[in-house]
Symmetry: C2
Subunit: 391 residues, 2 copies
């Protein structure tokens, strides 16, 4: 099967780019002396997770309990669910831990919280369910989303609530997601140092109070790539790096030639008078994430390549989307007068769209069509890899 | 099972609101003297489609061939695929037509195009596949997306290409999607009249040239609701009306009390210092569609209700989303200083989020949890209805 045989829209994964991205982050983790625990919220794929660990079912981070159950079933035993746990989900969490026991030594599923009342509920439910939930305390190091400050009064009450039958304090965790809005790699490096310093400060406070704090976890693709050093940190949790996207290219963490996923689309119309093509990749097939325009104006809803992939066609973008329609048009007002090469793109011809935000775009598909990405390999589809969507 | 038992995030469908919305559009179609062919791109559900037709498997519009195959399998035989067909999809289209033959008299699957070269390819493929594809010509009446102008030179060549063995001209079709950006219902009515006049003009040109033009199809929820009269039109194709959403409420086509779908979410964190709650409905669970803010500023990514539903809590919105995190905070800068009622919303408590754009939000779920919506009925889940996502 080749790209020409695929139904459109379809999600294409370039294996050569993926492998290069994975190796780059493995080398970073090794150089920084930390464990790599990739965040699989981007790929949601056991095959990608294994590739990230050179074939091993290594440590992973997940964003839903559906992902946790999927990776447990695929043989992964060291799983961190990195969204604040709610008590009603603890029974499912305990089932995933037991699910692992059926296949071997059990799943070490770790949870997170930043709320003392929730921590008490976790321990209570743990006792009722006959398990001890391993829980990390979420620390805020500048993103301002979830987590307590490194010097917050509630740190020790949280640790105490997690140090009773039914719960175990497993460590501390932070996510410097504000690195996505940095203006330079130097600024990313500064955010990475603040991320490190904050979470290490929290770990030291816990240890001084007599708590064990085995895991000190930081993570985002930009800070993992540009941190100068990570003393005191035990692991990094980058996610987007497996595929990258136009946002990351604009931020400067990757090049356009590193973007490993794209959407194969068919031309469904061409309109000379309006100087646009229509493709069958719209708001559902691409997502409506326009964040990439922050760093890279005129990216629209994605950039357009020939079906063979490689690099974007200059001056074109998906400038608007409706549910099942994408409009391909000149990317900037200055280019609006330049007629599109309509003769090259009859109805039924194909394009590839590089995504603004690969986490959001990939989530619309139930599988990857994998191409080798090797020069000269053509469009042969060498594998189909699954994904775990939903909740 | 009640709402309290559901996993979160979950998609909730209020049956009383749905039935009221469906009845309203049936009454409109009857008053206008036209067939109702609801666009199921919003609901993607056989149960909703049957409810729209009082239990019958009536005419439907679809946005993907996956939907067409799903509705054919569910017993619907009059299906219009309203996205420009590409030749590579014709074999699948023919299979859907045959699929119907297995269960009875066959599926009358209608296609659309606006491209002479594609029309020729349709007829050629029809001959090769041993079928005659019924095709409508797409007319542009002001949206400027797909379609030819009513007075375009290519209308008669298109009709000729579709009047040979392998293809049949089934009619003309338009979609005045620009009605979504109208500033008043009077403006919507004016757009509806232009939509009608344009597509009827094209139909008359075809008839004067000796072609049959049985179907004259218009459609959007706003124009269907506010058209004064539709002489010459045979059918309307509204879609969003089944559920409505915050965009439509801002446009003035529905009230907040008509929005039939919402996302049930759990509080995953509460942060007094930052004056926000976190919920487990983020960019994937709600979509990143912010179009509703055009008509209704400070809608953010959705408005927040108590878990029992009804109307939004004043002054609150989902002000930001990450992949699996929604931030619930004061909706406007003026309200930013008002502390949230944190005591009412411990971790694990639940909220319902009214969606900005129900087509996009619903697409993230594989099922509806249906509640009766009757006063006093409580949160009992009375049914689960499926959806057909993907392509």
């Amino acid at each position: 099967m080749t790209l020409d045989d695929l139904p459109t829209p379809a999600l294409i994964l370039d294996l050569a780019r993926l492998e290069r991205n994975l190796a780059r982050m493995r080398e970073r983790a090794a150089a920084l002396g930390v464990q790599l625990r990739p965040h699989l919220k981007t790929a949601k794929s056991a095959q990608v997770a294994r590739a990230a660990h050179r074939g091993a079912a290594g440590p992973v981070t997940v964003s839903t309990l559906a992902e946790a159950a999927y990776f447990a079933a695929a043989g992964f035993t060291d799983i961190l669910y990195a969204v604040g746990i709610v008590p009603a989900k603890l029974e499912q969490a305990a089932a995933i831990m037991r699910q692992g026991r059926n296949v071997g030594s059990g799943v070490d599923l770790k949870l997170i919280t930043d709320d003392v009342q929730a921590a008490q509920a976790i321990a209570e439910r743990g006792r009722a369910l006959g398990v001890s939930f391993r829980v990390l305390i979420k620390i805020d190091t500048g993103l301002g989303r979830a987590g307590i400050a490194p010097d917050a009064d509630s740190l020790l009450p949280l640790a105490a609530a997690l140090s009773q039958p039914g719960a175990t304090l497993a460590g501390v965790l932070t996510h410097a997601g504000h690195s996505y809005h940095a203006r330079s790699t130097a600024e990313i490096a500064a955010i990475a140092e603040a991320e490190r310093a904050g979470v290490v400060q929290a770990a030291e406070r816990l240890r001084q109070a007599g708590h064990d704090c085995a895991i000190v976890s930081v993570g985002s693709t930009p800070t993992a790539l540009f941190a100068a050093a990570l003393p005191g940190v035990t692991e990094i949790r980058p996610g987007n790096y497996v595929f990258f996207d136009l946002f990351q290219a604009g931020l400067g963490t990757c090049g356009l030639e590193d973007i490993a996923v794209s959407v194969l689309a068919s031309v469904t119309g061409r309109h000379r008078g309006r100087n646009h093509l229509l493709i069958d990749a719209g708001g559902l097939a691409l997502s409506k994430d326009v964040g990439a325009n922050e760093h890279r104006p005129h990216t629209g809803y994605g950039l357009v390549c020939l079906p063979g992939g490689a690099l974007p066609l200059p001056g074109l973008a998906v400038t608007d989307v409706h549910q099942e329609h994408g409009l391909v048009a000149p990317a900037t007002p200055e280019q609006a007068g330049t007629a599109l090469p309509f003769e090259r793109f009859p109805v039924g011809s194909r394009l590839r769209v590089l995504p603004n935000h690969s986490c959001m775009t990939a989530a619309m598909y139930d599988r990857y069509y994998v191409v080798s990405g090797q020069p000269g390999a053509g469009g042969e589809v060498i594998a189909e890899w699954d994904r775990i969507n939903g909740w």
